[in-house]
Amino acid sequence: MEPLDSLASIYPESRFSRDAAFQAAFESDGLTVFRAKPRAVVIPESAEEVIQTIRWCHEHAVPFVARGSGTSLSGGSLPVADGIVIALNRLNRILKIDPVERIAVVEPGVVNQHVSDAAASEGLYYAPDPSSQSICTIGGNLAFNSGGAHCLKYGMTSNHVIGCKAVLATGEVVTMGGESLETVGPDFTGLFVGSEGLFGVAIEITLRLLPKPEQFHTVLVGYDSLQAAGDAVSAVIDSGLLPGALEIMDALSIEAAEAAVACGYPPGAAAVLIVELEGPREKIEQERQQLDEILTSTEPFAQRVAVDEADRLFIWKGRKSAFSAVGRLSPDFLVQDGVVPRSRLGEALVRIQQLSAEANIRVANVFHAGDGNLHPLIMFDGSQPGALHRAEELAAKLSRLCIEMGGSITGEHGVGMEKRDFLPEMFDEPTIRMMHRIREAMDPKVIANPGKMFPGKEAPALSKVGLHPLEKAGVISRE
């Protein structure tokens, strides 16, 4: 029997495919620049099928890639050429919402937003909020330790995953963590989160839920320079306030957002800052006064407070649409993700502007300013010969800039395929070797998502860059 037949025997015909046309949907992810053809796509509906699939892959030394919704912006869920894609979208049951212990136990294909929806009637929510949250899965979030606009106060995905059952690439099923916030022994859950699918597949995930904030206080502030907006962030941070979100957009991204969603940002602003406080109304009452004073001292030329929830969402709409909106200014763009120390944000922006001018490539900037997390958007026209290459060169310079400034090559989008060449520039040799050893402990045959995170030989086909198909359809927008 052909080995693939024994894999096929695990699944009914409708959930196993070697059909090229069917597989086309899985050839790429949110980083559309890369494409690869898998050998087969399987669509498990139970954890047991995932376990059997991975044991089959292990036995036959066939590589596999777990896939949630395929929204990875770093090529993380790109298939391995001739490997198996394990599409997890149908493992989408919320197994338990426990309002007393304030936890949710979910299958990996559950969509991020659905967790908060299911917990809403209990007054609870799941805090990490990537802008892809209406479509991306908890499994993908876990693998990438995804972030969102509200990481400053509550942290990334890792802070909210308290337990995980996984099938490792060896076929071994392990249970890490549990239903308590605390554990004893090494924090294996913490290691598993952010491992980018290189250890195995999470099949059951236990999440911490938080009480929904009672009140929000959202302020939109316009500045006549990026520097002034950056200084305002420092002023807020130094005041001792801990906002839920602190976001900056530059003139180019404001222009794009304005054109796309008419978000009513202050005309002529060189930068806007969004500050959001959240908490019990008594606290907000006090803290908003403090924030008011700080913002006034930063001499903004325009300032507006959201008057109600609709208005708040309206303010956020401009911010959340910024990335897809850039698609209006340029046929193609690369979304960068890097981190610099917050106090060096201003300096980083000046450098980005210089690099952009030198390369003669327009770059729009959007950032989670409170975390020093930059998202430069590198615009180009993929139909021009060499344009993609030049854009990638600029992206590489930006990654190196982040390393040089003592930051990181990724704050939330992961290393994946895109940044794998930079990992050894961020970490020294012994540290990289240690990472390889850990990976081999989990995956001695190197079959789990090979070719990602670490520099490798195989480079799948490059194609033109563009919006994610779901963005084109207006289902999601980038952050």
């Binding site: 212990e101 890792s158 605390e182 913490g190 941070i237 019990p280 606290k283 930051g407 012994p430 240690m434």
Partner: protein, 385 residues
């Protein structure tokens, strides 16, 4: 479990104790002995119960970088927690998880290795969530610099988290980077009298879900008081406290911070006993522990994290056997952090244990291929499925 020993020889007498004063000396110390375990101030003796050479980090002390507007600091592993909390407090910042045993002299490295967080863990996360980066020396004598120095970083495997709770069995930490937060302007403590453990559990569940955003929710089974901590502007704290008082009229008292249980809990001094276990759990089992051990002599319980963590303090080691049996019957694991003797009690698959011994062994082998550091002192784990 291993037999809990009644007495323990004092390791500092019959064991070599190396106290390097520089990173080079630290590396030499690790390389010059066949088997090594790092210790700080040994505030948690059961965790370093071993015949390995002890390498003490206490002379590797001091904050090396602190930039308040970055919300980060970096310090050598032997830095006393008190030095850190004092330095941060001068700039209105803090580690929100109530570092454990700071007053007893615990070092930063020891706190990470033991993986201990106090009552404040409830609000913003534990020591695992605030640790950003770690520089440590591997068993092969190589410096590993994992994680980063910025508050957000998703590059590479999160090795710093793996070090949390690893009891020094994966490497010797030399320098650690943490995230910090601004301290709340004011704090306020309330106590709610509860006549039964069940009532306490219900009330904790109620407040944990509330709009009030409590910073800590603890329970003292004897004399039956749920403790709440609020943080924020003083007027806001007062207003929220008033509402809580109205909700359980006549049963809520304002407790001056100086008399509150928070400091005693962080120091694990909530009971008059010398042996203390950390037991991660959930509400129902917390209640069972409280009920079962209610009249046990020489045993004091304290619950934190709205019932998800129980500290059990006992006099000497005589009661450990029955507590071990009890934990096993409830499927809970306990880590002995104060006292003498073996550090592990209860079930092998309580919270945190990775069922699947192969993974645990493979990771140990990956982190420490030459077995320079002792094995994790855990019972043989259940065979994987």
């Amino acid at each position: 479990m291993n037999e809990p020993s009644e007495t323990r020889p004092n390791p500092s007498e019959d064991q070599t104790l190396d106290t390097p004063e520089s990173l080079e000396q630290l590396r030499d110390a690790v390389q010059s002995s066949p088997r090594v375990l790092a210790v700080g101030q040994r505030t948690k003796p059961p965790l370093s119960e071993t015949d390995a050479t002890l390498v003490c980090t206490r002379r590797l002390s001091g904050i090396t970088e602190y930039e308040p507007s970055e919300f980060t600091f970096t310090a050598l592993a032997g830095t006393p927690l008190t030095e850190i909390t004092d330095t941060l407090a001068q700039r209105g910042q803090y580690l929100p998880f109530d570092p454990v045993l700071a007053g007893a002299g615990s070092t930063l490295g020891g706190a990470v290795g033991a993986g201990l967080s106090g009552s404040g863990r409830f609000r913003y996360g534990g020591i695992r969530d605030f640790l950003l980066g770690a520089k440590f020396i591997s068993g092969e004598g190589e410096w590993i610099e994992a994680g980063g120095k910025v508050v957000k970083n998703a590059a590479g495997f999160d090795i710093p988290k793996l070090l949390v709770g690893s009891l020094g069995r994966y490497g010797v930490m030399a320098e650690l980077t943490f995230k910090v937060f601004p301290q709340p302007v004011a704090q306020l403590s309330l106590g709610i009298k509860c006549s039964t453990h069940e009532l306490a559990r219900q009330r904790m569940a109620r407040v944990a879900k509330s709009r009030w955003e409590l910073f800590a929710i603890d329970y003292q089974p004897d004399p039956g008081i749920v403790h709440l901590r609020l943080g924020g502007p003083p007027q806001a704290n007062d207003q929220i406290a008033e509402e809580i008082q109205t909700e359980w009229s006549g049963e809520v008292t304002n407790i001056p911070l100086s008399e509150s249980i928070w400091a005693k809990t962080s120091e694990l001094n909530f009971g008059p006993h010398d042996t203390v276990l950390k037991v991660p759990t959930t509400g129902p089992k917390m209640q069972q522990l409280c009920e079962t051990l209610e009249s046990a002599e020489g045993v004091t319980l304290h619950a934190s994290l709205a019932g998800q963590l129980v500290w059990i303090a006992v006099s000497g080691n005589t009661r450990l056997r029955s507590i071990d049996t009890l934990l096993q019957s409830l499927g809970l694991s306990g880590l002995m952090v104060r006292g003498n003797g073996t550090c592990w009690l209860g079930s092998e698959n309580g919270a945190g244990m990775a069922i699947g011994s192969q993974m645990q062994r493979a990771i140990k082998q990956a982190m420490d291929p030459t077995a320079k550091f002792p094995e994790l002192p855990f019972p043989e784990l259940i065979a994987s499925q």
